[in-house]
């Protein structure tokens, strides 16, 4: 009997050394692999669907506060540590890996208005309604030691916010005016005022560290220069700005969270009009924080949701909400660009994934390659209607959904009215005002 066997040339499959990669014979002749677009389209569609299926951003909730969480701060050196201050004056330090509170301090009477960590991570500052600025050690007190602040500064007025310089032992508080303090002294190094209204937020520029931005209740955003101890410029918007945040990768860009449901990204060199208006929220935006890569930012709103915006897009790419989450007061993006923390009215801090469908943990190289491929496919086919539709789909609570609808109608009505007015008046008398210009009242030099 003849037995036929396959015989191969060993040169084709035997490796020279065992360290060589296994040779996989492939033929890339396009004739052998037809339908490339169609096949990739299907892959992209599947990837998009899977992305939505696996989109489970909520990780955990840190509960323990006995009042609404009013402010949060990131630890500059430790990813697993986060600080939070509540409306009852309590400050808690959390361990994110264990998802536990590791320390609780009754820091103030009344609200903890603001908090910030020192750049070296050894201590942190809090300001409260009791007109004090307190500096605390980051480490918990030793056995038998009292829980006491390192320094306490008693001020004349209420401080509403605090931020620490990124490199020097200097911090800034705001309230009636912006005060710049040396850590060693009990009186401010200099006080910066312009106008008479209370200032709600002050932030140091993380790159050009002598620059400061602040926003006041009289609807304006003021920039300061610490070296010259002078304000630089003021831009007045239609409504009050609640917070602002500087882009950590682009020195001159900052984003302001406004009461008029929008966020405005400004280039500080050209304050006449914002670079981008980010609209999607349906209630006042209360807080904003940039991702450490500077490509995106997250905003917290009174409408009980948080949204993630790409810096160069006018609408959000993601919205997070849960049934129990109330008005979100503060939000932070962790320094490894992976997670988002938000503190809300109902006393909880929630931990979210920044990328909703991301798989956590270590990925095998092949898994990683597949992820990258899927990502690119989604990007490539993002304009195709089916894929876009699936990628865009988000569930929203009814209240937000209805409000969005309502506001869309209102906007449409306004637009129509303007159009009609333009149609029935002398040409040129009703000018086209771009959206970016609409919200700026004035720029004061």
């Amino acid at each position: 009997m003849r037995v036929k066997v396959l015989s191969r040339n060993p040169d084709d499959y035997v490796r020279e050394t065992k360290l060589d990669l296994q040779r996989v014979p492939r033929n890339y002749d396009p004739v052998l692999h037809p339908f490339e677009v169609a096949r990739e389209y299907v892959r992209a569609l599947n990837a998009t669907k899977l992305e939505r299926v696996f989109a489970k951003p909520f990780l955990s909730s840190l509960d323990g506060h006995r009042d609404g969480v009013n402010c949060m701060a990131k630890h500059p050196k430790s990813l697993s540590t986060v600080l939070s201050g509540a409306c009852d004056g309590e400050v808690k330090i959390w361990n994110l890996t264990k998802r536990q509170c590791i320390r609780t301090i009754q820091a103030h009477e009344g609200f903890v208005r603001g908090m910030c960590a020192r750049f070296c991570g050894t201590s942190f500052f809090t300001v409260g309604d009791d007109k004090t600025v307190k500096q605390w050690k980051m480490e918990s007190p030793e056995y038998g030691e009292e829980e006491e602040p390192i320094h306490t500064i008693l001020g004349k007025t209420v401080y509403t916010g605090i931020d620490h310089h990124w490199k020097e032992p200097v911090f800034a508080t705001c309230g009636h005016q912006v005060d710049i303090w040396d850590e060693q002294r009990t009186s401010p190094k200099c006080s910066l005022t312009w106008g008479f209204d209370s200032i709600s937020c002050v932030k140091f520029n993380p790159i050009e560290t002598y620059l400061l931005g602040s926003c006041a209740s009289d609807r304006n955003i003021v920039l300061y220069d610490m070296r010259k101890s002078t304000p630089l410029k003021k831009v007045i918007l239609n409504m009050r700005t609640n917070t602002l945040c500087w882009n950590p990768m682009e020195a001159f860009i900052f984003t302001a969270a406004n009461e008029d449901y929008n966020l405005y990204t400004f280039d500080m060199r050209f304050l006449e009009s914002p670079v981008m208006v980010h609209m999607d929220h349906v209630s006042a935006v209360l807080d904003v924080d940039y991702s450490p890569t500077g490509k995106e930012f997250v905003s917290a709103s009174f409408d009980k949701s948080i949204r993630i915006f790409p810096v160069d897009k006018g609408h959000s790419r993601e919205v997070y909400h849960t049934k129990r989450m109330q008005h979100v007061i503060t939000v932070k993006w962790t320094s490894d660009n992976k997670y988002i923390l938000c503190g809300s009215d109902e006393m909880n801090i929630r931990l979210w994934k920044a990328n909703a469908s991301e798989k956590l943990g270590v990925l095998a190289p092949r898994e990683k390659a597949a992820m990258n491929y899927n990502q690119k496919l989604k990007e490539k086919f993002q304009f195709h209607p089916q894929i876009r539709r699936i990628a865009r789909h988000r569930h929203l609570p009814k209240s937000i959904y209805c409000q969005i609808k309502e506001q869309r109608i209102m906007r449409e009505a306004r637009r129509r009215k303007e159009m009609n007015r333009r149609k029935h008046s002398k040409p040129g008398s009703v000018p086209f005002v771009p959206e970016r210009k609409k919200h700026i009242v004035a720029v004061v030099k």
Binding site: Q22, V24, R26, Y28, P30, L32, F35, E36, V37, A38, E40, Y41, V42, R43, N46, T48, K49, R52, V53, Y143, G144, W166, E208, L211, L223, D225, P231, L232, K233, M249, E250, A251, F252, I253, R269, F270, D280, P292, T293, P310, D312, K313, H315, V319, S335, D336, N337, V362, A370, Y373, K376, H384, P385, Q386, H393, R394, H395, K398, Y401, I404
Partner: protein
């Protein structure tokens, strides 16, 4: 009188001149007293004349010196200049002054910030950004430093530390016992590397040696063994003599040992000439010289054995050599077995190290048959091995001295030795037995999956069964067909710029996603339906209204139903078997070909696929043929009613013949149906409007056409194409950018940062194929007649084969395009 006066005057003048000349001669100017020559009201008692009393006094005149030259000239000039200037302005108000300061500060600081412009643009445009920007190696602070700052405070801690102190455990500083420190310091990296290389070589040599020994063992030639034995004996004798000279005591011991051996051999009666061999030899000896010789030898040996006092040189055990080589490893200090790179089971024998390598080891002599197997000759390998050994001993000279301090350790290892040593040869045996290198074998064992299979699994982004589906299911062709477009009908709905579509509904599973997609499809169709009449009119200008209406009705009905219809169902209705030249066709063997064909025909006796296809094609041709438009109104201009037909004349007049259709594209392709109708199923998947960053639809199509996957690209290209935009490392803090992070900046000064700010310059987003950055007017739609972006992506004239092959006709290419 006048003449007299003139004369007088002239005289006076002359007189004055004279006086002046005289005074000039003297060199000193004398103050000249003005002479009062006329009466005046204003008479100064200081002898000041009143000359020019009424004139205005000029300041410059006051400054003018008496002498023409003076230092005050510059002051005068300045005075003149000052006089020209206007009055100094009033100081600014406080508000304004502040504003000026602010403006100046703003200008300078925005200029300073502007130096980041280049960096920012570069980062925005970058293909890939790796965060954190500064990749610094994480430094692990040594434990002792961490613990040194820490002190025991609570009672529990104190108690624990008390215990630790009592046992004198190293708590704080070095954390290593002195022995450990010594072992750590004993070997440098270089040395370790060298030693490792040596070990490797030794191991290789050993394996060769073993192989050789095994070969030798298998040799059956008796002569060979005799010679071997003899030579071995000689060698042993020589060695013994040497030993005798160098170490009499050891020699004596060995002698005793040998004596024992001799006795044993003697008792064995092997040399008594009574064995089978001896007897046969005895017979042969008559004729054969060699046999005689052998017999004589045997006899001599016998005699030798019978003599009591004779010392017989013992035989050495060469087999032990390689094994010992592997085992006899240096111990730098005897304390740290880990530094050896070998399990501690193979610890060296101290005795073996001390003596020279080539002596006979008393304990090593074993039974006789074992001895026979061994090889005596000092081959190259042995030489090498011994060389290594010597080197090692040289090196270990110091550590040995050191190890003597730790006598206890050594004894311990010594005690362990007998237990452990048998293991090693076994291992060696095993290693030797396998023809394949062991790690290679392991590898073979490890990978039961054929590599290409694994590759396939890796390639597919979906689970393998999904991948299977992708390959087998009819879905891809459908998509392909649908993507092929005959014409473009952009949906009327304006493109929303929104990134999210927010709903009240949760979508959790793949099925939901499907339904999402379907919903979209239905919407699309409804829109299409709504717009149909107008578009039809444009598309098929000559088609009659009635046809459009009927078409309308049909599509409406279909739209109502379509919610239930899945894509696959639609396709399944029209199974069309195709074959494709490009796909590999299974060729039957010549021998069994006829049988197989017969079997196949038997199996598929019922369905004549080819005829089916022809019928289908005919039907399709019929369907597309332009129909004549019937505008005949029965009863118009004549009697109408049941049973009455409009007159032939009318019919002839009002039946408008459609112009003949252009020739079908598949006219000459018997195995292909090319449908030029627009497929709304495909339209739902197509991009109807040119997306934002693209300027022309060609660009977009180009970007669609290049595949990304590993099926079409080499591994390297695939990796490059799918490299993510932003890479972050888990657990790393990303600090804000600083001057040091900017790659091209010189240390200290931000050279790169000094690029001037370019206000108004727009950032051009990155992306090679995607020419972002230049805004495209939103409303700019793709011209209707042109190909649909994305849809055209299926290679235009290329074959679009369906999955099945038609058995009867294999070699001919058959194509089908979208229905």
């Amino acid at each position: 009188m006048t003449a007299c006066a003139l004369w007088q005057e002239d005289g006076e003048r002359r007189h004055r001149q004279l006086l002046e000349a005289i005074s000039a001669l003297s060199g000193r100017k004398r103050r000249k007293l003005a002479e009062r020559s006329e009466a005046s009201g204003q008479v100064s008692e200081f002898n000041v004349s009143c000359k020019g009393a009424g004139e205005k006094l000029l300041l410059s005149e006051l400054l003018q010196p008496i002498h023409p030259k003076s230092t005050l000239g510059s002051v005068r000039k300045e005075l003149a200049r000052v006089k020209q200037k206007a009055a100094v302005e009033l100081p600014l108000s406080k508000e304004e002054a502040k504003r000026v300061v602010r403006e100046a500060a703003y200008v300078t600081s925005s200029k300073e910030v502007g130096k980041w412009q280049q960096v920012v643009l570069q980062n925005r445009r970058a293909e890939q950004l790796v965060f954190p920007l500064r990749q610094d190696i994480a430094t692990v602070t040594p434990l002792e430093r961490v613990t040194s700052a820490w002190k025991a405070r609570t009672p529990l801690e104190q108690e624990i530390f008390g215990l630790l102190h009592k046992t004198q455990q190293p708590i704080t500083d070095p954390l290593l016992t002195p022995e450990e420190m010594a072992s750590v310091q004993a070997m440098s990296l270089e040395e370790a590397r060298r030693r490792r290389a040596e070990l490797q070589k030794a191991r290789a040599v050993q394996s060769y040696y073993e192989a050789k020994a095994r070969r030798a063992k298998r040799i059956k030639s008796k002569k060979y063994h005799r010679v071997l034995k003899k030579s071995r004996r000689r060698q042993a004798l020589k060695e013994f003599e040497q030993l005798h000279k160098s170490d009499p005591a050891a020699a004596l011991e060995q002698l005793e040992e040998l004596e024992q051996l001799r006795m044993q051999e003697r008792m064995s009666l092997k040399h008594q000439n009574k064995g089978k061999w001896a007897r046969s030899r005895a017979i042969m000896a008559k004729y054969d010289l060699e046999a005689r010789k052998a017999l004589q030898e045997q006899l001599a040996r016998n005699k030798e054995l019978m003599q009591k006092v004779q010392v017989e040189p013992p035989e050495e055990e060469p087999c032990e050599v390689p094994e010992e080589d592997t085992t006899a490893l240096p111990m730098p200090s005897g304390a740290n077995p880990w530094m050896l790179g070998k399990p501690s089971g193979l610890a060296p024998e101290p005795e073996a190290q001390e003596g020279p390598r080539d002596d006979t080891v008393p304990g090593a002599v074993e039974s006789k048959d074992e001895m026979e197997e061994e090889e005596e000759e000092l081959s190259e390998e042995e030489a090498l091995l011994q060389d290594f050994e010597q080197k090692r001993q040289q090196r270990t000279g110091n550590p040995e001295g050191h190890s003597k301090d730790h006598g206890a350790d050594e004894t311990e290892t010594g005690a362990e030795q007998p237990r452990d040593s048998p293991v090693a040869p076994d291992c060696a045996e095993e290693l030797g037995d396998s023809p394949v290198p062991p790690d290679c074998a392991e590898e073979l064992g490890d990978s039961p999956v054929p590599p290409d299979c694994a590759e396939e699994l890796g390639d597919s982004p979906v689970p393998p069964d999904c991948a299977e589906e992708l390959r087998d299911s009819p879905v891809p062709p459908v998509c392909a067909e649908e993507l092929v477009s005959a014409g473009l009908e952009p949906p009327p709905q304006a493109q929303e710029e929104l990134l999210l579509s927010e709903q009240l509904r949760h979508v959790k599973t793949m099925e939901d996603m499907e339904s999402l997609a379907k919903e979209e499809l239905v919407e699309e169709q409804e829109k299409l339906v709504a717009l149909r009449p107008g578009k039809r009119a444009r598309q098929q200008e000559k088609a009659s209204v009635s046809v459009t209406r009927t078409g309308d009705r049909h599509t409406k009905k279909a739209a109502a139903k379509r919610k239930m219809i899945s894509l696959e169902a639609v396709l399944d209705g029209k199974p069309q078997e195709m074959d494709c030249s490009s796909l590999p066709v299974v060729l039957e063997e010549e021998e069994g070909g006829m049988e197989q064909r017969g079997m196949i025909t038997e199996a598929f006796a019922g369905d004549d696929v080819v005829a089916d296809f022809r019928r289908e094609k005919r039907k399709a041709e019929e369907a597309v043929k332009p129909q004549p438009v019937n505008l005949v109104l029965p009863g118009w201009g004549e009697w109408g009613g049941t049973g009455l037909k409009p007159s032939a004349k009318k019919v002839k007049r009002f039946l408008i013949k459609a112009p003949p259709a252009p020739p079908r594209k598949d006219q000459h392709l018997p195995h292909v149906i090319i449908s030029e109708k627009r497929n709304i199923h495909a339209a739902a998947h197509q991009v109807s409007e040119l997306p934002f960053p693209f300027e022309r639809h060609q660009q977009f199509e180009q970007s669609m056409r290049t595949p990304l996957g590993p099926t079409w690209n080499t591994q390297r290209a695939f990796q490059k194409l799918t490299a993510p935009r932003v890479i972050t490392r888990a657990g790393h803090i990303i600090q804000p950018i600083s001057a040091e992070d900017v790659p091209d900046t010189a240390p200290g000064s931000g050279a790169r940062l000094e690029g001037e700010a370019m206000p108004g310059r727009k950032a051009v987003p990155r992306g090679k194929a995607v020419p972002k950055g230049k805004a495209v007017p939103k409303g700019k739609a793709v011209p209707r007649g042109k190909a649909v972006p994305g849809g055209k992506a299926v290679p235009g004239g290329k074959a679009v084969p369906s999955g099945r092959t038609v058995p009867g006709q294999k070699a001919q290419p058959r194509h089908r395009r979208a229905r």
